[in-house]
């Protein structure tokens, strides 16, 4: 319960800090945090390196927008369409991968293949998705706020609270899962899935649950992200996006539920703190991946916890 209190200052922050850049960086950190936390449910807890996460992120963004435009439904219903769509796709892909007992590298490669196929479809289905040019949004989500009725979501502060609530909810849902008997099943699968199988754990079912729930989290992040920047293009589904997610989860720490949010924050804030060009950013990003794996395998949060325990 104590760890939830750590979120409290973030709720009070906009009352003190009015700097738009700081708040914008935090909004991006929260949205990408949702993505990284949900990825870590599959990778850090169930032990499956999925490279489908960027595809779930992008597919949901497209599904939400296109369903809103074609069926003229509000954003929140569109978000549900996006999440359900991604969940259904994930059930199919997950069922294929886990039924055929694909592990480690082979699972990564097959999810990467499906992710690339999804990207190619989005890229080439010009009449529906506007291809590589992407789509500029003309609609904004609306929200019912007590006392003010239904108003459009605009302005950094409103997005700040919306995404902060979303990331807190994601962390709560994931930690409820991880700290339940289901989380124990995930751990046993991660550590030794053959042993888990002989102990009577339904390996297929729990791998599938982690994959579908994780991708559903990515779907929420995708829709929020798309409507925050009001633009989508096929790069949402790119391999680089998947790699960025892995980097966030690893950098934050894969052993804890909320730690990937820290990773998302550091990787989002870094380019603003040290002002460098795109090439140097790529270099730094690569070095972070390498050095985290070699020097800090437990991530920032894991290393801090160890320091505190040692002190």
């Amino acid at each position: 319960m104590k760890s939830y209190l750590l979120w409290l200052p973030l709720f009070l922050l906009p009352l003190v800090v009015h700097d738009n850049v700081v708040l914008t960086v935090l909004v991006f950190s929260f949205i990408l945090g949702i993505l990284a936390v949900s990825f870590n449910l599959i990778f850090g807890f169930a032990g499956q390196l999925s490279l489908f996460h960027a595809a779930a992120f992008g597919l949901s963004a497209y599904a939400t927008y296109l369903s809103m435009v074609h069926w003229s439904i509000p954003f929140w219903l569109g978000l549900v369409v996006g999440v359900v769509f991604v969940a259904l796709v994930s059930v199919v892909i997950g069922a294929i991968c886990f039924r055929f007992k694909l592990k480690e590298f082979y699972f990564a490669i097959v999810t990467l293949a499906f992710s690339e196929i999804a990207r190619l479809v989005i890229l080439n289905w010009n009449s529906f998705t506007n291809g590589s040019l992407g789509i500029n949004f003309t609609v904004t989500p609306t929200l019912w706020v007590p006392g003010r009725g239904v108003i459009p979501v605009q302005g950094t502060v409103m997005w700040y609270y919306l995404t902060l609530v979303a990331v807190v909810l994601t962390v709560i849902v994931c930690s409820r899962i991880v700290h339940s008997w289901m989380g124990r099943c995930f751990a046993s699968i991660r550590l030794n899935d053959e042993l888990a199988d002989t102990l009577g754990i339904n390996v297929f079912r729990y791998k599938l649950i982690s994959f579908v729930v994780g991708n559903a989290g990515a779907a929420v992040a995708g829709s929020l992200y798309a409507f925050y920047i009001s633009f989508i293009d096929p790069d949402y589904l790119s391999i680089n996006q998947s790699l960025a997610i892995i980097a966030m989860a690893l950098l934050g720490g894969r052993d804890s539920v909320a730690a990937p949010v820290v990773g998302a924050f550091v990787l989002t804030a870094l380019p603003h703190v040290i002002n460098v060009n795109a090439e140097a950013r790529l270099l730094i990003y690569g070095l972070i991946l390498i050095l985290t794996i070699l020097l800090m395998p437990r991530g920032i949060v894991g290393s801090l916890m160890r320091l505190r325990r040692a002190a």
């Binding site: 590298f105 082979y106 790699l243 980097a247």
Partner: protein
């Protein structure tokens, strides 16, 4: 129509050997160090850039620039192996992530030095062969023969020399190999460097055929991994056949199927292979 098909077939075979040289590196690295080095594509890109810089920038003759570029890439590969991959041996996930980080670093360095503008080398060997109406550029024929020779020589040295047999032995049973006097650290570093050298050679030859850009490595490593898996990871001749299958399928497929989804066909094929014949087309054990 027949000419078109035959032309695409030949073209596919030649591109396929480029895939195969990457696939061979992937297979060797995986067999000996237990990781899949995705950075081989980036090493290939680096080989292409170094060759281009040596010939068009400094004026080194192409036949000399190729071995020089291969040497540079191999040395860098050795350094990277000792500095990074030595610590991720047999840890697939960590190795994968380190190699992905390495791609970013190498691409960023190339971007800083040579920018994003694609570069094309001057024609090394102009002219074409005309075989019954089918046109094959001379340089493509040379590239094909060089790559084929290197792959076959690699196969021969793996089966005929002491070091090659040591590598095979190590792949089958590391502990037994070590007990028989195989110096495993040296073997792993050597194979890692040799794999990057192969990728560098692929890049050096690629530069003479197509224009080069920092992102060329990405599609080649994907095709290389596809080719390696297709044939069953661990087989040298298999990676050659796997590469040629993918090259030909793409070349001939582009005549009959919408080419926008060109890359998707290979991926679908790969997924099917992994699901129904995980040991690869030529693998025996399931």
């Amino acid at each position: 129509m027949l000419q078109l098909v035959v032309g695409q077939l030949l073209n596919g075979v030649i591109v396929g050997t480029l895939y195969a040289i990457i696939a061979l590196g992937v297979t060797l690295t995986f067999g000996i160090t237990g990781i899949v080095n995705f950075a081989l594509g980036a090493f290939m890109m680096l080989g292409a850039y170094i060759t281009w810089y040596l010939t068009d920038g400094i004026g080194v003759p192409y036949p000399l620039a190729v071995p020089l570029a291969v040497l540079c890439v191999a040395l860098l590969g050795l350094a990277v192996d000792q500095a990074l991959f030595r610590f991720t041996r047999n840890n697939l996930i960590n190795g994968l992530i380190v190699s992905i980080g390495l791609i970013s670093v190498l691409v960023a360095i190339v971007l800083m030095i040579w920018t994003t503008t694609p570069q094309s080398m001057h024609y090394v060997l102009p002219g074409i062969f005309r075989i019954g109406g089918v046109i094959v550029p001379k340089m493509k024929a040379v590239v094909f023969i060089v790559l084929l020779l290197v792959i076959l020589l690699t196969y021969a040295s793996l089966t005929r020399t002491w070091a090659g047999r040591a590598a095979y032995a190590y792949a089958q049973n590391p502990e037994a190999a070590a007990l028989m006097g195989v110096r495993t650290g040296v073997l792993q570093a050597g194979v890692a460097a040799y794999s990057t050298a192969l990728a560098g050679l692929g890049g050096a030859l690629y530069a003479s055929l197509y224009s080069i850009a920092p992102e060329i490595g990405a599609s080649y490593i994907l095709k290389g991994v596809e080719a390696a898996i297709l044939a069953g990871i661990g087989s040298v001749v298999g990676s050659l056949v796997g590469g040629i299958i993918i090259g030909v399928a793409e070349g001939v497929g582009s005549i009959f199927l919408p080419s926008a989804y060109n890359d998707a066909y290979g991926l679908i094929f790969l997924v099917l292979i992994l699901l129904f014949k995980p040991a690869g087309l030529f693998g025996s054990k399931s």
